[in-house]
C-alpha cells in the first residue's frame, strides 16, 4: 500500500515541531533566542484571545488583497499590452526585467515619506513588488503560444480578438498563474517589510514591536501566523494550477 504524500508531509511537520520542543527545552540555546514551541502556542493564543492579532492581521490582509488586485490588474494588462507588439516587447521587456532585479526595498523610505505610515504606503509597495513577476510571466506566457495554432485559427477565419481569446489567452494561462502566485508571495514580503520598517499596524508591525521587547515566543508565533497565511494562499494557487492544466495530464 502506498502512503499518501500529505501524510508524510504532516509527519515531517510534527517531527520538526517535536524536535523544536525538545531542543528548546534542553535550553542549550537561551529561551530568549529560541522559545519552546509550547510557549509559542500559549503566547499566540493570548494574542488571539485579546483581539490584538485579529486587529493587526486584518490590516495586513487588507493590504495584501489590495496590493495583489492592483498588481494583477496592472501586471496582466501591461503584460498583454507589451507582448502584443514586437516594438513594445523589445523595448520594454529588458527594462522590466532590469527593474525586477533591483531590490525595490530601497525605494520604501521614499514611499513612506510620500504616502505616510498608513495602509496606503504598504499597498503601493506591495503592488510594486507584485507587479513585476505578474507582468513578466504574462509576457512569457504569450511568448509560449504556438505560432502554428494562430495560423490554424486564422485559416478558419478568426479575428485578432478571437485569436487572442481562443489561442493566446489560454496558452498564456498556466504561466500567468505562476506569475500571480509569485506576485502574491512577493507582495506579502513587501508588505511585511513595509510594516516592520515604518507603520502603525499590521503583522509586520506587531512582529517588530514584540521583538523590540524581546518577546520571542510572540515573535515566533506571529511568524508562524504569517507562514500560515502564505501557505493557505499557495494551496489555493495549487488547486488553480491543477485545474488550469488538467489537459496536460491523464483523464
Amino acid at each position: 500500500m502506498k502512503i499518501p504524500i500529505w501524510l508524510g508531509q504532516i509527519a515531517l511537520l510534527l517531527t520538526f515541531l517535536g524536535l523544536w520542543e525538545i531542543v528548546a527545552s534542553i535550553e542549550i540555546i537561551s529561551p530568549v533566542l529560541l522559545p519552546r514551541f509550547s510557549q509559542t502556542i500559549i503566547s499566540i493564543s493570548g494574542v488571539v484571545a485579546s483581539g490584538e492579532l485579529n486587529y493587526h492581521l486584518l490590516i495586513t490582509m487588507e493590504e495584501l488583497l489590495s496590493s495583489f488586485l492592483i498588481a494583477a490588474v496592472f501586471g496582466i494588462g501591461a503584460g498583454f499590452l507589451i507582448a502584443s507588439t514586437k516594438l513594445l516587447r523589445e523595448t520594454l521587456e529588458p527594462i522590466l526585467l532590469l527593474l525586477f532585479a533591483i531590490p525595490i526595498a530601497v525605494v520604501y523610505p521614499l514611499i513612506a515619506v510620500w504616502f505616510g505610515l498608513g495602509v496606503e504606503s504598504k499597498i503601493l509597495f506591495g503592488s510594486i513588488y507584485g507587479f513585476f513577476p505578474i507582468a513578466t510571466n504574462t509576457i512569457a506566457g504569450v511568448r509560449s503560444t504556438n505560432k502554428s495554432l494562430m495560423k490554424m485559427s486564422k485559416s478558419m477565419g478568426a479575428s485578432s480578438t478571437r485569436i487572442f481569446t481562443s489561442i493566446i489567452f489560454p496558452s498564456a494561462t498556466p504561466t500567468l498563474i505562476t506569475g500571480l502566485r509569485s506576485g502574491l508571495n512577493l507582495a506579502f514580503i513587501g508588505i511585511i517589510f513595509g510594516e516592520m520598517f515604518a507603520s502603525l499596524g499590521g503583522l509586520g508591525f506587531l512582529i517588530n514591536s514584540s521583538s523590540q521587547v524581546l518577546d520571542s515566543a510572540k515573535v515566533f508565533g506571529l511568524i508562524g501566523i504569517g507562514l500560515l497565511v502564505i501557505v493557505i494562499a499557495n494551496l489555493a494557487f495549487n488547486r488553480l494550477e491543477i485545474r488550469s492544466s488538467r489537459w496536460r495530464g491523464e483523464l
Binding site: N146, S148, L149, K151, M152, S153, K154, S155, M156, G157, A158, R162, S166, I167, P170, R246, W247, R248, G249, E250, L251
Partner: protein, 273 residues
C-alpha cells in the same frame, strides 16, 4: 483543357506565383519561382517534391495565410487576398490541436468561429468524428491521443467546415505506412460522396499515385512545376492495384522525374548585395 476552362472555372488557379522570404538583415531566399497550375473542381491533385522545396509555402499562399511576392492565386475565380474559411480549409503538417480542448471541442473550434448554431454544430462534430473513426474518443485531450488519432481529429475539424476545397499538407506524413494507407482510403471515401476539390502535398510516390487524379512534380527550391502527370488508373483504387504493371510504370516515371530534383544542389539564401 483550355476549352473546358471556358465553361467551368478551375477551383484553384495559380498564375506565375513567386515567393521569397527575407532572411537575416538584408538577404532573401527564393522559395517559389513562377509556379502556374490549375486544379479543376472535384479533382484531387498531389504536389510531390523534395523536402524544403516550397510545398507548404504554396499551400499557405493558397490558404491566404501568406502573401506571394509575385503572381496571383484565384479560388473559384476570385483573387485570394486572405483566408476564405467558407471556401477553403487547410489541414497542416502537424495536427495543431488546441491542447486544452478535448477532441470534440477541437472539431467544434472552426464551427464556433463561423458562428454555427449549437445544435447543428453538435451534429456536425459527431458526424465527422465518426467519419474519421474516432467515436468513443470524443472526451480525450490531445495529450491522450496517439499521433494518428490527433491527425484524424485535425482532419475532422477541417472537414466539419464542409468547404468545397481542402488543402492537405502531408496530413499523414508522421504516420506509419499502414495507418497512412487506411487514412488515405478514408479520404478517398469521404471525397467520393462530398465532391470536394483537394490539393494534397506528400512526399510519398505511392500515396500520390493511390489518391490522385493528377500528380505535379515540383523542382528543388525554388519550386517550379516540373511535370504534370495525369493518373489514369481505375477507381476506386484497391491496395492490390499497387502491384499492377501500370502502377509500377507510373512509379518509375515519377521517380525518375523526382530523382534529379532530390540530387540537385539548392541555392543558398542570397544577400541583397
Amino acid at each position: 483543357m483550355r476549352g473546358r476552362t471556358l465553361l467551368t472555372e478551375p477551383a484553384i488557379e495559380l498564375r506565375n506565383l513567386k515567393k521569397s522570404y527575407p532572411v537575416g538583415n538584408d538577404g532573401t531566399i527564393e522559395v517559389v519561382r513562377d509556379v502556374s497550375l490549375r486544379v479543376g473542381a472535384r479533382e484531387l491533385v498531389s504536389l510531390l517534391g523534395p523536402s524544403g522545396c516550397g510545398k507548404s509555402t504554396i499551400l499557405a499562399i493558397v490558404a491566404g495565410l501568406t502573401s506571394p511576392t509575385g503572381g496571383e492565386v484565384r479560388v473559384n475565380g476570385d483573387r485570394v487576398e486572405g483566408p476564405r474559411p467558407t471556401e477553403i480549409t487547410i489541414v497542416f503538417q502537424e495536427p495543431n490541436l488546441l491542447p486544452w480542448r478535448r477532441a470534440d471541442q477541437n472539431v467544434r473550434y472552426g464551427l464556433e468561429l463561423r458562428g454555427v448554431d449549437p445544435k447543428v454544430m453538435n451534429g456536425l462534430v459527431k458526424k465527422y468524428l465518426n467519419l474519421v473513426g474516432l467515436q468513443g474518443f470524443e472526451k480525450y485531450y490531445p495529450s491522450q491521443l496517439s499521433g494518428g488519432m490527433a491527425q484524424r481529429v485535425a482532419l475532422a475539424r477541417a472537414l466539419a467546415l464542409e468547404t468545397s476545397i481542402v488543402l492537405l499538407d502531408e496530413p499523414f506524413g508522421a504516420l506509419d505506412e499502414n495507418t497512412r494507407s487506411i487514412l488515405g482510403d478514408e479520404l478517398l471515401r469521404i471525397k467520393s460522396f462530398t465532391e470536394k476539390t483537394m490539393l494534397f502535398v506528400t512526399h510519398s510516390i505511392e500515396e500520390a499515385l493511390h489518391l490522385s487524379d493528377r500528380v505535379l512534380i515540383l523542382s528543388a527550391r525554388p519550386a517550379r512545376v516540373k511535370d504534370d502527370i495525369r493518373i489514369n488508373l481505375e477507381t476506386p483504387r484497391t491496395v492490390e492495384l499497387r502491384w499492377s504493371p501500370e502502377f509500377q510504370e507510373y512509379k518509375v516515371r515519377i521517380w525518375q522525374s523526382l530523382k534529379d530534383e532530390l540530387e540537385r544542389d539548392v541555392p543558398e539564401p542570397v544577400a541583397n548585395r
